[in-house]
């Protein structure tokens, strides 16, 4: 089905926002502006956006340590996200969560997560809620997270309980510094998912249209059958595992190659301009708009109020 001009522009804007957000963070972190451990999502934008463009506020997603892209794609406020990363009281999580716990439950984003493999079981529970209202729940996981026992338990339970959870595995070929072929014993992640008794799907995670069209089918399947499914998206991570990673595990020229040949933004631009769905000027305009948004986000984040010592005690409980 052909996407409308507005839908195309929105999808591109989302991907570009993620890219610009992450590129900017990369620079700000190098300047020492941002504290903590940050894992950037640049390179994988087509995955988050290709999935989340099908979702509404009542569908749930849960993310990983590499969570900024999922947040933006699900509709978290970009300025508030930036404020969070700058540790501001005005941030999305009041400066208490930071990159690894960035979340906005109000838009159905159940959090980035510092514990690899923690997301999938929680997504099963969100799937129980989603099932009752005809929605779905998405567990984003990496190729490394899929080796965690929690992920296996979640997949089996989703099948047993018949819950519309979609296990989206973003295979960027590395868990930290270890290659996927070393750490995943089976021929593929989907072989394992399939063996739990769910339908499996695969797409090129650097091509928005591939992800989007596959996810249309997957989500329709899960919404109608109320059953789980698994999707593997083959993708690339552009920066280090965390900021500061020397990336010596990569092959010669690998980073240049993936940036040249496997860039979801470039691929999108080529496809839509060749098909004359959008022209270059449309895309350039979005680029400019997004860069301005990120500039504003950083400026506001730098000026935003910092927490005070007494704020450490807030929100541990509702009442105590």
């Amino acid at each position: 089905m052909q996407l409308s001009r507005d839908a195309l522009l929105k999808a591109y804007r989302q991907m570009k926002t993620i890219r610009a957000f992450e590129n900017r963070l990369h620079d700000e972190i190098a300047l020492g502006e941002i504290a903590g451990f940050t894992h950037l999502y640049a390179g994988q934008e087509a995955c988050a956006v290709g999935v989340c463009e099908h979702l509404g506020p009542k569908d749930y997603i849960i993310s990983t340590h590499r969570g900024h892209g999922h947040c933006i794609a699900k509709g978290c406020d970009v300025v508030d996200m930036m404020k969070e990363l700058y540790g501001s009281r005005e941030g999305l999580c009041k400066g208490r969560g930071g990159s690894m716990h960035i979340a906005d439950v109000n838009v159905g984003m159940l959090g980035a997560n510092g514990i690899v493999g923690a997301g999938a079981p929680i997504a099963v529970g969100a799937g129980i809620s989603a099932k009752a209202t005809g929605h779905v729940s998405i567990a984003f996981s990496g190729d490394g997270a899929c080796n965690q026992g929690t992920t296996f338990e979640a997949m089996n339970m989703a099948v047993v309980l018949k819950v519309p959870v979609i296990f989206v595995y973003e295979n960027n070929h590395y868990s930290e510094h270890t290659g996927v072929d070393y750490a995943v014993g089976a021929d593929s992640i989907l072989d394992r998912a399939g063996a739990f008794g769910m339908k499996t799907f695969r797409a090129d995670g650097t091509d928005f249209f591939a992800v989007y069209e596959t996810m249309r089918e997957v989500i329709e399947y899960c919404r109608t059958t109320k059953l789980p499914a698994a999707v593997e998206l083959d993708t690339e991570r552009y920066f280090g595992h965390f900021e500061g990673d020397p990336q010596r595990y990569r092959g010669p020229g690998e980073l240049d190659r993936i940036r040249e040949e496997r860039d979801c933004l470039k691929t999108f631009r080529e496809k839509v301009t060749e098909a004359k769905l959008l022209d270059g000027a449309d895309i350039d305009a979005v680029d400019a708009e997004v860069e301005a948004l990120i500039d504003r986000a950083v400026a506001e984040a730098k000026a935003a109020e910092k927490p005070k010592p007494e704020h450490v005690l807030e929100d541990v409980y509702i009442s105590y």
């Binding site: 999580c93 514990i115 493999g117 965690q148 026992g149 930290e176 290659g179």
Partner: protein, 338 residues
């Protein structure tokens, strides 16, 4: 003697023990770094640089890079240890103990007791803990209280390079399961490390400074904080007897009680939240066994009863600090019985 960082002392100790005893193996995530990747094994060599070069030296049968599977890491290490190996398992961040808790708590800690004393499980579980990097709620915690509470585990918290060597050598040779806690903010701390074989038996605290007014108990990163505070307090003529516990299980009660009997005042510095903590445990022991010596209520400087927050300002508010120790010490000294 040579000056080394704690991380170097740890790497060299593991290396020396692997060279000395073929039964020593090591397991963990990314401890080789680069397996299955174009850069190849040892491309990175462990994110903490505490395993660099070991794979090349001892091979993949003894230096075992694992998938992200903490339960299976501890299970595999303990299974190997039950059957003749000495296993060192690395948990990259101590917070991940949540994932492998059953293997540690219900399995490793209890084998020998449950099996009628017929088994030995010489496993060292190295875990990287502590705050100070704004790494937030799931990568900053101090978990010593919960493991100290588990019968069957020994718990070690080195604060200097020399202690790291002496205590880790002991841990690897010890026939009981040991939790070896490495503070991430101390890895680069430098100090003299004895050459050659060096063992520190468990249950022997280190007397850091001598003083007659206040007994200051600390572990890990808190030891350095206590030393800083003590320097400031010394300017006001307050003498601190700083004791680095080194191991929280077994605990050197004698060193603690001897000191409190002399000073009459106790201040405990603990990086974790205050409830059911090392701080409350130590104060209960002292209240029970040295009550008559106490000239003032026991003071505790701890984290608050909250998770570890992210923002710089919040993490500073969360952590104990030399200033907070000085404030508590001043309160302790000015206490008058009503």
């Amino acid at each position: 003697m040579a000056i080394k960082m704690i991380r170097e002392a740890i790497l060299e100790t593991i290396d020396a023990e692997m060279a000395r005893d073929e039964s020593v193996i090591m397991l963990g995530e990314d401890i080789v770094g680069g397996n299955g990747a174009p850069g190849g094994p040892e491309a990175i060599g462990g994110i903490w640089s505490t395993s660099t070069g070991l794979w090349a030296k001892y091979g993949p049968d003894r230096v075992i890079d694992t998938p992200i599977s903490e339960s299976a890491i501890i299970g595999a290490a303990s299974g190997a240890a039950l059957t003749g190996k000495r296993a060192i398992a690395e948990i990259m961040f101590a917070d991940f103990i949540g994932v492998c808790m059953d293997q540690i708590w219900n399995q490793v800690a209890k084998f020998r007791y449950m099996f009628g004393g017929k088994s030995t499980c010489p496993i060292v579980i190295r875990m990287v803990y502590g705050a100070g990097f704004n790494a937030a709620a799931q990568h900053s915690q101090s978990i010593h209280a919960m493991v100290t509470a588990m019968p069957g585990l020994k718990v070690v918290m080195p604060s200097t390079p020399a202690d790291a060597k002496g205590l880790l050598t002991q841990a690897i040779r010890d026939d009981d399961p040991v939790i070896f806690l490495e503070h991430k903010a101390l890895y680069a701390v430098k100090g003299d490390v004895p050459d050659g074989e060096y063992l520190i038996p468990f249950g022997h605290a280190r007397h850091v400074t001598q003083g007659d007014d206040i007994t200051l108990l600390a572990t890990g990163m808190m030891v350095g904080f206590a030393e800083k505070a003590a320097k400031q307090l010394a300017e006001d003529g307050i003498g601190c007897d700083i004791i680095d516990l080194r191991t929280t299980s077994p605990l050197d009660e004698e060193a603690i009680l001897d000191s409190v009997e002399r000073t009459g005042r106790l201040l405990i510095v603990d990086e974790s939240p205050p409830r059911c903590s090392l701080a409350t445990d130590l104060s209960a022991i002292v209240a029970n066994k040295a009550f008559a010596s106490l000239r003032a209520p026991i003071e505790m400087v701890t984290a608050p009863h909250t998770p570890v927050p992210f923002a710089r300002e919040l993490e500073s508010a969360y952590l104990p600090s030399p200033d907070k120790i000085v404030t508590a010490a001043t309160r302790l000294m000015s206490y008058k019985r009503g």
